[in-house]
Amino acid sequence: MIGRLFDGVPRRGLVLLAGLLVVLLAAPWIANDYLLTVLIIVLYFAYTGQAWNVMMGFAGQLSLGHAIYVGLGGYAAAALYVHFGIAPWLGLAAAIAIAMTCGAIIGFLAFRFGVGGVYFAILTIAFAEFARIGFDHFTWVGASSGFFLPVANYTRNDLWNLRGNPTMFYYLMLALTIAAFALCHILLKSRVGYYWQAIREDEVAARSLGIDTFRYKMYAVVLSAGMTAVAGVFFAFYYNNLFPEQVFHISRSIELILGPIIGGIGTLFGPLIGAFLLTGLSEAMQELLTALGFDAPGAKQVFYGLCLLAVVMALPGGVWPWLAAKLGVNGRRS
């Protein structure tokens, strides 16, 4: 199994990958608190980006409402913890189950009725907005005034209840990201992965080859939803608060998918590279604008938007394919 993970990866790529892993593992000893927080955000977006990539990058189904799975996952685990004292690791199972069910409902409705492309994307937005407004009026979990977890005790790490300091959350997120990475790597080379890519490239051709496109599109949506819900649980226990206006908002869905698109859609490293670039860019903008004494609210986003425009116009396929060619690690296309 481990051996299979590295099939077809050029040697130079392995060395770079190992180097990256060492840096990421050592980061809490090197980085200060601020940098560690930024790295947690980077990994969070790398993970959610990878989860979204399963659906869009691999199977070609554009979801613009992934915030719904983050929100459902976060709310499910947080509500079980606060109301019944159920530990997040058990709540995680419920969170995944709920998100997967939701994904299955959206997928079933859309794919059964032949809703695809732009229409599917807008359907996913509609569901996320529906959830946002619904949770705004859902008093059991605090409605619009927010749902709070008891604030973490930073002196002691309690991994079972996910109460602890940023270093614990950092390693947790790193483990999740690596796991998602390995899973996607295996999936891409599996039968399911090839079916997905066939559907992405040409759905009619895929179906005429005998692929049950409905079933495999459903797999992609359900898996992506479940993976995203895990990030939602992490989000809830890391930030200790959930507001429907923030968690389910369409800007969250957009934030989540910018990484993989900028990094390179459908590639394994795209979400990671994209998350590093965008989070780094965003933080650097903040620093730069503060240093220049020009920190009007919104200034950061204007420059962020302009950079986004520049990247998407200059590198249509994303940064990773271009970078991989530069580094000479683009062996087999994956």
Binding site: V118, Q301, M313
Partner: protein, 290 residues
């Protein structure tokens, strides 16, 4: 509750819905021809709304008189956007266009935030509190003017696409891209014109809507979503569909606000959207999906 209340709310929703419809016509025209979903649509609308406010506060110009000038300004903006940055993207995949327009939207929202701050703004005209009495109905004068302006503009646009040679040329591009190129139409120019026309709808709708709602920079994304709902409900690419969708959504929101809490009203619009997508994915008046 007496029946007049329902009727009053329904008429008010219908008139507001007409303005929404005009905004959605813009989105529909752009998608129908250029095949690009304008994710910055509501944001462009807020640009028009802020311009109307500046013109009103600075020069005392009535927003209703500014409908045509603002439509012209937004037309120029739309033309420049399509010619400058969107044309290279028309052959790229949807997600690529999506990011491009999301980036444009992000820039617009935050430039407005820097320029005008986060506070809600509105205009107080001399007729703000006037109303008409029609039998048992009390109708806001502003809403009547807004609805009437919308009907006139939409009719003009219909006529343009139906009868004007340029309108016919644009429809030719929409029907058959290659065919349009073969007969020697300058498709890129026509695409830019179309995007300009879509933006002009937004400019007109924005200067009218400013009479009805307060504007904040954050209104942009909400309007974009609203335009999506309307256009999908009515049929993406269909102009009458967009108007019908606008009226339906206006009515739905007004009545839902009456029967349930107003803050939950857009849930019903999304509910309506989901139903339409499931049972008639091409929209109420849309052509069948290929």
């Amino acid at each position: 509750m007496p029946a007049e209340i329902y009727l009053n709310v329904a008429v008010s929703g219908l008139l507001t819905g007409l303005v929404y419809g005009l905004m959605a016509v813009g989105l529909s025209v752009i998608f129908g021809v250029v095949r690009v979903v304008n994710f910055a649509h509501g944001e462009m609308m807020t640009v028009a709304m802020y311009l109307a406010i500046v013109l009103f506060n600075g020069f005392g110009l009535d927003p209703l008189a500014m409908v045509v000038p603002l439509a012209a300004v937004l037309f120029a903006l739309g033309y420049a956007m399509q010619a400058g940055i969107i044309n290279p993207f028309i052959t790229r995949p949807e997600h690529s266009q999506f990011i491009l327009l999301v980036a444009v939207a992000l820039v617009i929202v935050n430039v407005l935030l820097i320029a005008f701050g986060p506070d809600a703004r509105n205009v107080q005209t001399s007729y703000s509190f006037d109303s008409f009495l029609v039998g048992p109905l009390i109708i806001d004068a502003t809403k009547v003017y807004a609805g009437a302006a919308t009907v006139v503009i939409t009719a003009a646009l219909f006529a343009f696409f139906r009868f004007a040679p340029l309108g016919k040329a644009i429809r030719a591009c929409a029907d058959n891209y290659t065919g349009a190129l073969v007969v020697g139409l300058n498709v890129r120019h026509l695409y830019a014109l179309t995007f300009g026309l879509g933006a002009a709808c937004v400019g007109a709708a924005g200067s009218v809507l400013v009479l009805l709602v307060d504007v904040t920079p954050a209104l942009g994304p909400a309007l974009t979503l609203l335009a999506f709902i309307i256009v999908i409900t009515g049929g993406l690419g269909s102009m009458p569909g967009a108007v019908l969708g606008g009226v339906l959504i206006g009515l739905t929101e007004a009545t839902a606000g009456l029967f349930f809490t107003p803050s939950a009203k857009s849930m019903f619009s999304f509910g309506l959207l989901v139903l339409v997508l499931l049972f008639r994915p091409q929209g109420l008046l849309g052509k069948r999906l290929s």
